[in-house]
Symmetry: C2
Subunit: 312 residues, 2 copies
Amino acid sequence: PTSPKRGSGSGSESETEGNGGGKSIFMVSDGTGWTAEHAVNAALGQFDYCLVDRLCPVNTHLFSGIDDVEQLMEIIKQAAKERAMVVYTLADPSMSESARQACDHWGVASTDVLGPITEAIGGHLGVSPSGLPRWAPGREKTLSEDYFRRIEAIEFTIKQDDGALPRNLHLADIILTGVSRSGKTPLSIYLAQKGYKVANVPIVMNVDLPKTLFEVNPEKVFALTINPVVLQSIRRARAKTLGFNGEIKTNYCDMDYVKQELEFAGKIFAQNPVWPVIEVTAKAIEETAVIVLRLYHDRKNRCSMPRISKRY
Amino acid sequence: PTSPKRGSGSGSESETEGNGGGKSIFMVSDGTGWTAEHAVNAALGQFDYCLVDRLCPVNTHLFSGIDDVEQLMEIIKQAAKERAMVVYTLADPSMSESARQACDHWGVASTDVLGPITEAIGGHLGVSPSGLPRWAPGREKTLSEDYFRRIEAIEFTIKQDDGALPRNLHLADIILTGVSRSGKTPLSIYLAQKGYKVANVPIVMNVDLPKTLFEVNPEKVFALTINPVVLQSIRRARAKTLGFNGEIKTNYCDMDYVKQELEFAGKIFAQNPVWPVIEVTAKAIEETAVIVLRLYHDRKNRCSMPRISKRY
Ligand SMILES: Nc1ncnc2c1ncn2[C@@H]1O[C@H](COP(=O)(O)O)[C@@H](O)[C@H]1O
Ligand SMILES: Nc1ncnc2c1ncn2[C@@H]1O[C@H](COP(=O)(O)O)[C@@H](O)[C@H]1O
Ligand SMILES: [Mg+2]
Ligand SMILES: [Mg+2]
């Protein structure tokens, strides 16, 4: 079998590996497995130093919808065969107990990602966990109002990409602005998935910004800035992908032009001092997202201790 | 302070609550906090039965970028004051140890989400975790090739939304098709964030699908279907949001029309038996996503045990 590379899951599936070449981590869930995957991802950040350059390659394998003990046992036996470790999220306590015991029995290292936190929250709330996985039969299957609001945020955000429909800017929760390739689009989408309606407005050298941008509450506008050298290299890669097919201006990757455009943007930012200017160089999208959201919530809440709060 | 509702973070911030009205969970990270939030979210799924109707309301508070012990102590003291529990991800072992001890000292329930899994992975790989948080000074700050590939996938997917640019369908990793409001757009975006280039093609009663859809590898096409009653109610809500402003056909929410359109779609699906037909009724986006990805990877890998694999 071929396996996509880190974080991609698609594209360059060039490496053929079978079980050889690297240690394996099995992620097993009665649900989707995304929670286990997220936790494994974060933990792997602690081994970046040896993952880089493939000094200690790791293969993860996600098994989702595992809700009966026979399947579970088969996977754990397979883990033993492949000398993999197992990370699991199993809501039914008898399933997670079976996982633990079978891993012990087959000499497979294992971690329960869901159990400890569920137990702690249960103790804190003074109620017992249901023990029901997300797809348990008989569980109520209605999607919440918030769920639909989040979907609406995504649709809104797509429609408002790249400066489209400036007349709608007043409907946005958050407006991002910055030069081309400063990461407005992926950041917009990331925030949209968290339920925020986002519009992004590109800044292009000597082109006027839409009037409506200056008519909305400036507290919801966030400016992005980026190091010119990094921006140039991102633009070069972009131009290569697009194949210089006319969509791109010839001086787009020019260092002089890149610097001038960033200065042009900087002047606009200076004229709008309420807009926070966020430096995005070498930041992952989820990192910039948390900076935006902290500012957004601090401004709304004027709370002594900066925090992002939600109600369940 | 006001707090957005579950999963939204924006919109209806109507409830004023201070610390009253519900139990609090503090999520503390030296990074973004999204890992802790994801784990808390999954665990809260175990308490759905009492979260519904606000029988036991929960407020979460996310503290990100906590990388010195004074800040950490202040937050834990605040947690004690607000009778909150603490969930933390702190890469530096001295920080996580401080968190544990301070929580014990102040009588605050706590869970370490990062430590146990990091330790287990370290043991499995036979190397030590770096102990460095994602924003530690001196850490290499380069974004990977995959990172940029993921961003490209997002940009591609936005451009291909709602049947746009059918000439590009051959460039997609995954193509989704289904009637309006079957969830193609949010599912496309979700998959794009995982690195897949997705195109979605709407099916509209008596409208021909683009020729290119039948020219691509049919193994990458996924059909979505949904219960007519649920679809009608989603379309009604949609029509209300859009305010019947001409973007919507008058019979769009008509039960007869809804059923006919689903039948029309069903016939197309029957004519293309390679396309898997996925039932999306009452499924969350991330649930449909894992179904699509499992099929996608199984088809690519023809592996005895269905799994989604990645290489790090
Ligand atoms: N809404 C939910 N209700 C009940 N359990 C859930 C819910 N969401 C996630 N879980 C559980 O949390 C764990 C992680 O979910 P997942 O991220 O889908 O693998 C699994 O054991 C799920 O069964
Ligand atoms: N790429 C990374 N390198 C090092 N540590 C990371 C990385 N990503 C996440 N972490 C750590 O994993 C935990 C969860 O991260 P976050 O989801 O950003 O709160 C934090 O303790 C981070 O410091
Ligand atoms: Mg863009
Ligand atoms: Mg759509």
